[in-house]
Symmetry: C2
Subunit: 301 residues, 2 copies
C-alpha cells in the first residue's frame, strides 16, 4: 500500500439543488478527493484554509486518517464557492467564487510529503500544480484534473502540465473545450498526444471512459434514482480511482479498469447527500457491495 | 431460429448533418429495424410505400432476405421525412414530415405472418401498433418503440399498448417526456409499472440501459470517432436486439444482455454512413468482431 498526495482547494460551499440547499458546508476538490481516497490508502493534503475554517472540519479530516501537515492555515477567510444545479444535475452553475486565502497561496510541501509515490493534482491553478510537482522526488504516478476557467485563462501552463503527468482526468465539457472538438473520442486521442499515458473522461450520470495509447474502457455509472447534490462527484471519482491504484501499487490495464469502477462507486455514494455527508457514514463493506453490484450491472457474457 | 415481424414506417429521407447531406434516400423505422434484424433471422415487414418507391429499394430489401409480402404499395407518394443534426448528434431536428400514403394506412397481415413468434412494433401511430397485435396469434415476445409525437397526441392509446407488450424501447428524451421525470431510473421503473416486463432506454452515444422487474444492465456505446448520420440508430439498435433474441429463441437475463450488445453493435455500424449504406456492405464477421471488441471495451474483473 502506497501513500497518495492530494493538492487542491479546500472550501466552504453554498449549494442549491432541486432537492435542498446547504450553506457554508465543507467542500473543495482536495477535500472530496482526499476523503474518497482515504478509504483506500493514507492521504496527505496540500492546501490552504483561513482562520475561519471550522474546527470540526479539521477533526473530521483527521479522523479519516488524512495527514494535514501540508494544509496551511493563513490569516483571512477560507475559499468559498456558491452555485446551483437545476434538474440537469450534470451542470454546475457558479453564482460566486471568493478566492480569499487562495489568492496568495503558495504550496510548500513538508519534507515528509516529497517522496509520496502517488500524486493527484486536483483542480487548482495549473501554476500551483507545477509548483507541487517541482517539489516532488520522482513520484511513480501523477494524475491531474482541471476546470474550464484554467482552460480559458491558463491554457499554455495547462498544456505544459499535461506533458508532465501520467494521467489526465476531465469531464466531458472540459475535454471538448480544451480540444475544441465535439467528439469525446477525438478529444481523448488529442489529450494523449499532449503527454499523458492515460486520459479519463468523466461523463457524470453517463459514466466514464478510460483511454490509453492502445486501450479503451468504458463504464456506465451506478444507477441512482435520486441524486441530491452532484458537487464533488468528479473529485470523489478521482479520489477513489487514485486511492485504489495507490492501494494496489500497480498501474496496469486491469488495475486501471478496477480503479475506474472504484472511482465510480465513490462518486455514486457522494452524490446521495449534500457536502461530504454520505462519506461520513460510509463503510468499506458498503463500497465492496456496490462495487460488486456495479460489476453485475455491467457484465455480459 | 424464429422469425421476426416488424411494423413501422418505410420512408424516403432527406438528411443533413455536419458531415454531409443526402436527398430522398432509403429510410424509415421499419426499414432500419428490418435490415439490422435480417443479419440474424428471417424478417417479415408490415408497412406501406407509394408508387414512387424506387425499384432498387425493393431489390435491396429482398436481397437481404426480408419478406415483403406485408409491404403494401398504394397509389400516391411514399412517406417522406427531412431533418438535420448539428454537432450534438443526439438530437434530430425535423424540418418536414409528409405522411402521404401513410395517412390512410391500415396494416393487413398476410396469413403467413400471423403466427410470427417475435414482433417489433417500430415507431408508428400506436393505433396501428394495436391493429397489428390484434391480428397476431399469441406471439411469444412483443417489443415496441414510439416517439415524442405519439406521447403527446396519442398518450392514452400508447399507455394501453404498453400493457400489451413484453418490452418497451425508448430513447432518453422520450422516456423523460412520457414519465414526466428527469431521472431515467425513475422513468424506467414507471415504464415497468405500465405493463412491460422489460424497458430499454437508448441514450445514443451514452449507451443503453435495460431494466427488468428485478434486474438492471447498462452498456456504453461502441466508441466512434466520427458519426456521419445518426438517423436510424435507435431502429437498427432495436432490430439487432430483437433479431438476436429471435435467433436464440430465448428471452432470459443473459440473452437479453447479449441482445443489447448486438443492438449497440448494429447501431454503431449504421451511424458510420448515411441512410442504410453501411448495412449494405456489412458482414456477419464484422458484427462478430465488433461485438467481441465491445465486450473487451466494457469488461472489468
Amino acid at each position: 500500500m502506497a501513500e497518495l498526495l492530494v493538492v487542491g482547494s479546500v472550501a466552504l460551499d453554498t449549494v442549491e439543488t432541486p432537492f435542498g440547499r446547504v450553506e457554508e458546508v465543507l467542500g473543495g476538490a482536495a477535500t472530496y478527493a482526499s476523503c474518497a481516497a482515504s478509504f483506500f490508502v493514507p492521504v496527505r493534503v496540500v492546501g490552504v484554509v483561513g482562520e475561519d475554517f471550522p474546527q470540526e472540519h479539521w477533526e473530521f479530516l483527521r479522523a479519516r486518517g488524512i495527514d494535514l501537515e501540508g494544509l496551511q492555515m493563513r490569516p483571512g477567510r477560507t475559499f468559498r464557492w456558491s452555485g446551483f444545479y437545476d434538474f440537469d444535475l450534470n451542470t454546475a452553475h457558479t453564482l460566486r467564487t471568493e478566492l480569499n486565502v487562495f489568492e496568495a497561496f503558495q504550496p510548500h510541501l513538508p519534507p515528509t510529503y516529497r517522496s509520496t509515490p502517488f500524486v493527484f493534482l486536483a483542480n487548482i491553478d495549473p501554476e500551483l500544480q507545477h509548483q507541487v510537482l517541482d517539489q516532488m522526488e520522482a513520484p511513480r504516478f501523477v494524475a491531474c484534473d482541471t476546470m474550464n476557467f484554467w482552460i480559458e485563462h491558463r491554457r499554455q501552463r495547462l498544456l505544459e502540465l499535461l506533458a508532465r503527468v501520467d494521467m489526465v482526468l476531465m469531464n466531458d465539457a472540459e475535454a471538448r473545450q480544451l480540444c475544441q472538438t465535439h467528439s469525446l473520442i477525438a478529444a481523448a486521442r488529442q489529450l494523449l498526444r499532449l503527454g499523458p499515458r492515460y486520459a479519463v473522461i468523466k461523463k457524470g450520470e453517463h459514466g466514464a471512459m478510460l483511454f490509453g495509447q492502445e486501450s479503451f474502457f468504458a463504464l456506465p455509472s451506478y444507477p441512482l434514482e435520486e441524486v441530491k447534490d452532484p458537487t464533488g462527484a468528479g473529485d470523489t471519482f478521482a479520489g477513489g480511482m487514485l486511492g485504489y491504484l495507490a492501494s494496489v501499487e500497480e498501474v496496469s490495464e486491469p488495475t486501471l479498469r478496477r480503479a475506474v469502477a472504484y472511482g465510480s462507486v465513490m462518486a455514486s455514494f457522494n452524490v446521495e447527500d449534500f457536502s461530504l455527508n454520505r462519506l461520513r457514514t460510509l463503510t468499506r463493506e458498503e463500497i465492496a457491495q456496490r462495487y460488486a453490484q456495479l460489476h453485475e450491472f455491467t457484465h455480459f457474457a
